[in-house]
């Protein structure tokens, strides 16, 4: 099982969610975070010169998927929907998950996902 964590622009959340639904990926959790990328924020020009907005609101969508799922396809779908081509589009990280349990039924394992 893998955990796919993607940090995206808040306004792309609906589109990503809908696209994932079509892949039949429905279970997910959403966090409101703020973040900065390699640029260390967003640089703007004001009346008194350049300044940096250091924290930008982002959404993190966290999806745990079973190993039967084609992770690359999921990633591809997220990218397709979340990409604008401008700095700040966000990043995706993949981490390992050892076990999943469904609280309602106590079932364990990949099949609950």
């Amino acid at each position: 099982m893998k955990k796919i964590e993607c940090f995206i622009r808040p306004e792309k959340m609906e589109a990503v969610k809908n696209a994932l639904s079509e892949l039949n990926i429905k279970g997910m959790s959403v966090y409101e975070v703020k973040g900065r990328g390699n640029q260390g924020g967003m640089w703007l020009t004001g009346r008194s010169g350049r300044y940096c907005v250091e924290w930008i609101d982002k959404i993190k969508i966290e999806i745990v998927v079973s190993s039967k799922v084609n992770v690359d396809q999921v990633i591809g779908t997220i990218i397709e929907k979340a990409q604008t081509g401008k700095e700040g589009d966000g990043k995706i990280f993949i981490t390992p998950v050892e076990e999943s349990i469904r609280i309602r039924t106590k079932e364990r394992g990949e099949d609950i996902l």
Binding site: E11, E14, M42, L44, T45, G46, V53, I56, D57, G88
Partner: protein, 399 residues
């Protein structure tokens, strides 16, 4: 001078004042959180700028004796010279001239603040300040003069406008439309979700606007008399009916009892009754309130599906409701004036003239003004600033 009238109008002035902070919450709650402070700041700065300019020049242009043709007031009241603590019988026998002046000031403030609608979420704050300063002088003051000023030509032909349906609402609606066309939609408009960030703030604003409107319409009687009572009750009744009807329309369309719909309907009712408040019997206020919700709802739906990003709907509510109100005032007026129901169909005709002239002048003059500022100073912030939000980029603050 009458103590009772002074007492009444001072408090009404205070009530009209609170409408602008109310509008700040009404508008602010409807936007995305990253632009809420900016919207509130636009409303508050309207108070500051309009008041100072009113002192120097705007009151004079609107209310000083006509310079000829009924088109504009002179410079007699520049710097409020001649605006004394005694009465000015052209405007009221029982109120100090200064009180009339400050009561009128509050109308100018709220009008200018309403115009923030098409500027929302995308405009340089400094450019907004410049725009409203000029707009007050070249659009608001003349129109106020025409209808209410000593010698104004719309007043002279008998155009009925109890509390500002024409001067405030039609005017601001079409001005907002013009601005929206000039500066164009927000980035992501109709593509990305732009949900209101706080319904409670919208309702706080609705409550403050509603109570303020008692002063707005009631105070327009300029005396603590039974016309004030009539105006105040009509105001309340139209707002209530408007709220109810809009809510029901939404319910039948979507199955949900939209609270925003209720607030919009209340506003639609308040707007429509403004020109009529002291002229019509309550039953007509009731009808006007309901009708206004229906018509404004249709216009709003059409506006929302169009490319016009005037998303706080000054045009659909103030503009539309204002026109409807002006016309229906001509139809239903029966108290202190004679409308079509008393056989005087000509009144409707006069009202239409008032509407047409206001619409054209407001739209054209505002369009030109906005266009010039847009092409010179520039209204729009950069795409990045718009993305980050105006609270941080214009004000260095966060809600």
């Amino acid at each position: 001078m009458s103590g009772a009238d002074i007492s009444f109008i001072i408090i009404c002035t205070a009530l009209v004042f609170i409408m602008t902070p109310g509008l700040a919450f009404f508008y602010g709650g409807l936007l995305r959180k990253k632009n809420m402070v900016n919207m509130m700041a636009m409303c508050f700065v309207s108070i500051a700028i309009v008041s100072v300019l009113w002192f120097f020049i705007a009151y004079s242009l609107a209310f000083a004796p006509d310079v000829g043709g009924g088109v504009i007031g002179g410079f007699d009241f520049v710097g409020l010279m001649g605006v004394e603590l005694g009465t000015n019988p052209s405007y009221s026998d029982s109120l100090p001239h200064m009180l009339f002046m400050v009561f009128q000031l509050m109308f100018a403030i709220i009008t200018v603040a309403i115009i923030a609608s098409p500027f929302s979420e995308r405009v340089n704050f400094g450019a907004f300040c410049i725009f409203i300063s000029i707009w007050l002088i070249i659009v608001y003051s003349p129109i106020a003069h025409w209808v209410w000023g000593q010698g104004g030509f719309l007043g002279a032909i008998g155009c009925l406008d109890f509390a500002g349906g024409t001067v405030v609402h039609i005017n601001v609606g079409f001005a907002a439309l013009a601005v929206a066309l000039v500066i164009g939609p927000r980035e992501g408009y109709q593509k990305e979700p732009m949900e209101p960030n706080s319904i409670p703030y919208v309702l706080l604003g609705t409550g403050l606007l509603w109570i303020g409107w008692f002063g707005f319409n009631g105070g327009s009687a300029l005396a603590a008399n039974n016309i004030a009572v009539l105006a105040m009750f009509n105001t309340h009744l139209a707002a209530s009916m408007g709220a109810l009807v809009w809510m029901l329309i939404e319910y039948f369309k979507t199955g949900k009892f939209s609270t925003l719909g209720m607030a919009s309907g209340a506003l639609a009712g308040l707007v429509v009754v403004t020109p009529a408040a002291g002229f019509v019997a309550p039953v007509f206020a009731l009808i006007m309130g309901g009708l206004s919700s229906l018509v404004c709802f249709i216009v709003l739906s059409w506006r929302a599906s169009s490319k016009v990003d005037e998303s706080l709907d000054a045009i659909s509510i103030h503009g539309t409701g204002g026109i409807l109100g002006a016309i229906l005032t001509g139809v239903f007026a029966a108290i202190g004036a004679e409308g079509a129901i008393l056989g005087n169909w000509e009144q409707v005709w006069i009202q239409l003239i008032g509407v047409a002239i206001t619409v054209v002048y407001s739209f054209v003059a505002t369009f030109i003004l906005a266009f010039i500022i847009h092409k010179t100073i520039g209204f729009r912030v950069s795409s990045e600033e718009e993305y980050v939000g105006l609270d941080i980029t214009q004000h260095g603050e966060k809600a």
